[in-house]
């Protein structure tokens, strides 16, 4: 089974020191103090892909859109068991929306003869949650979103479990080739071993620029997007919100008072 797994590099928001500030353009955030990691859901997608490969054979190809600095998340996926990698990198790709992003991914995977394409269901930075399913649409393939479990029925069919509200698991059969967007929590992402890291440094990361994608300039970036990001803003503190200030002793006492006043406890 030949699998593609799409990975995105995102700011590490688990780091408590990560402060988000809008930059001068109003259309970006100051990234100078961020540390970057693989998007959480993508990490689970990588693990699922490697588990499937270990069980059923085949190869895992890691695909990313990003600058050279994104090599660190690509190499880590290779170190965990990925076999090959493609990185789409061109300054013209900047400000790509969901559609333009999916188009870029399509250009990288369409001729690969892959059985299964996986991506995380949601990126932790822009939070669209739509790239995977848009990619399926462009490729004309069936898809399942928010997938938590993947089982192979035979070489044509998969059984996938989608977690719904209340923890209900919806089981579906889906024909390959197909696209799955993977949720967090369905597996336990491994750590790369030293041996894996050493082997990853020998694996090639194929870089595709605009020319290599075969796409026209007006199909990518802002020109190729149907949604244009206008600007970021910090939400204003509303009338119904009360921010408690002071040390934990004071704020917790005040919080207890409010809960009591409102009859919530």
């Amino acid at each position: 089974m030949n699998i593609v797994v799409c990975v995105k590099q995102v700011p590490d928001t688990s780091d408590p020191d990560t402060e988000v500030h809008i930059d001068g353009t109003g259309r970006g955030v100051d990234q100078s103090k961020f540390s970057f990691v693989i998007n959480d859901a993508d990490n689970y997608a990588v693990e699922e892909a490697i588990l499937l490969k270990e069980k059923h054979g085949g190869e895992v190809t890691v695909v990313n859109i990003g600058p050279e600095a994104a090599n660190q998340v690509i190499r880590m996926a290779l170190a965990k068991g990925g076999d090959a990698a493609i990185r789409l990198d061109d300054e013209k790709f900047a400000f790509s929306d969901v559609l333009a992003t999916a188009r870029l991914l399509q250009s990288a995977v369409k001729d690969g003869g892959f059985d299964l394409i996986m991506a995380g269901c949601l990126a932790s930075d822009d939070g669209y949650g739509a790239v995977g399913v848009t990619l399926a649409q462009l490729l004309g393939l069936p898809h399942a979103a928010m997938v938590k479990t993947v089982e192979v029925i035979d070489d044509k069919k998969l059984k996938v479990g989608r977690e719904l509200e209340g923890g209900l698991l919806e089981m579906n059969e889906i024909e390959m080739p197909c696209v799955l967007t993977i949720q967090t929590g369905g597996n336990e992402p491994r750590y790369a071993s030293f041996k894996g890291i050493r082997e990853a440094s020998k694996k090639e990361i194929k870089v595709m620029d605009l020319g290599a994608t075969g796409l026209a300039e007006d199909q990518v970036g802002e020109a190729g997007s149907c949604a244009i990001m206008a600007q970021y803003s910090v939400p204003e503190v509303g009338e119904l919100a009360e921010i408690l200030e002071g040390d934990p002793g004071t704020t917790s006492a005040r919080l207890a008072e409010i809960l009591k006043e409102k009859g919530l406890v």
Binding site: Q72, A192, S193, F194, K195, I197, R198, D247
Partner: protein, 381 residues
Amino acid sequence: MEFDLNEEQTMFRQMVREFADKEIAPYAEELDGTGEFPYEIQAKMADLGLYGLPIPEEYGGAGADFVTYSIAVEEIGRVSASLSISMAAHTSLGSMPIYLFGTEEQKQRWLVDLAQGRKLGAFGLTEPEAGSDAGATRTTARLAAGEWVINGTKCFITNSGTDITSHVTITAVTGEHGGGKEISNILIPAGTPGFDVAPSYRKMGWHNSDTHELSFTDCRVPEGHLLGERGGGFKAFLKILDCGRIGVAALSVGLAQGCLDESVSYAKSRIQFGQPIGRNQGISFKCADMLVEVELARLATLKAAWLADQGRPYTREAAIAKLFASEAAMRAANSAVQIHGGYGYIEDYPVCRYFRDAKILEIGEGTSEVQRIVLSRMLGL
């Protein structure tokens, strides 16, 4: 000059840090309270190759360089000194002697399991009456009918009593040579009759590292368990200790970094007199000083490791790194507790444990005083 880690080392640091933060840090305090050896975490670390980093792949190791090894010891040491010393002692004292001085047969028999972390190894040098003064070693090994018969006591021996300890290599007097004691290294398998492991010490810190007093009473092992040349024990363990000093230096860097991280985080969030305490120079300068010392300690440690990787002498640099880093760690732990005030004195905050774990760094693998002796002799004094 090149101060950057290479891509492999950078990725490795990232991986070990993530592992330490997710798989060790959340359990470190509870584990410390139990005083038990953390077999589950040890096994996970072994799976990542952490228990055989500088051992070549042909003997089951990772074939990594000493810089990579130092990174691992530091990153684990940042969250748990116990697990870090267990790994470092296993590598430099348990495994390296066999790799450096063992016969091919001994390497195949012992080293492969050690390098893969399925077994742990220990080294017994210190005795109740002989630590740094190795010439005062009293443990004897007498050759009789093709067997070494060992009698004596060793103390403070790390990894010597776990369920997966495979052996302890000891130094023993095997005769006289040129009017002095002939000291040799002998490999004693765990469970050999006459080899007794005392219950764990009640230590100030390093609660999850396994440390025992060992006694040998007419303990017999085959003649072939001699490790290295007969009479070569003194030279051998000096070499082993050099490597061990890089490990303790790296652990010290990790512990000091942990103190710095905790202090900065606390200084930002603790409000007194209407502002974070970190706004007071009395606190912020302590943090700045810690930062300077962590950086210098790390540079000294990585330089010693780098020299070892180049196959060049590194006794001097290992002593410098061990001396400076361990004392810097003690100072950092002291500052970290002070910055935390009363909260630093209770076990709810990790700096309390870091403080208890720091002191031994100035003692193990040669005390600060011994490092100063080594260095002053190098100055011709």
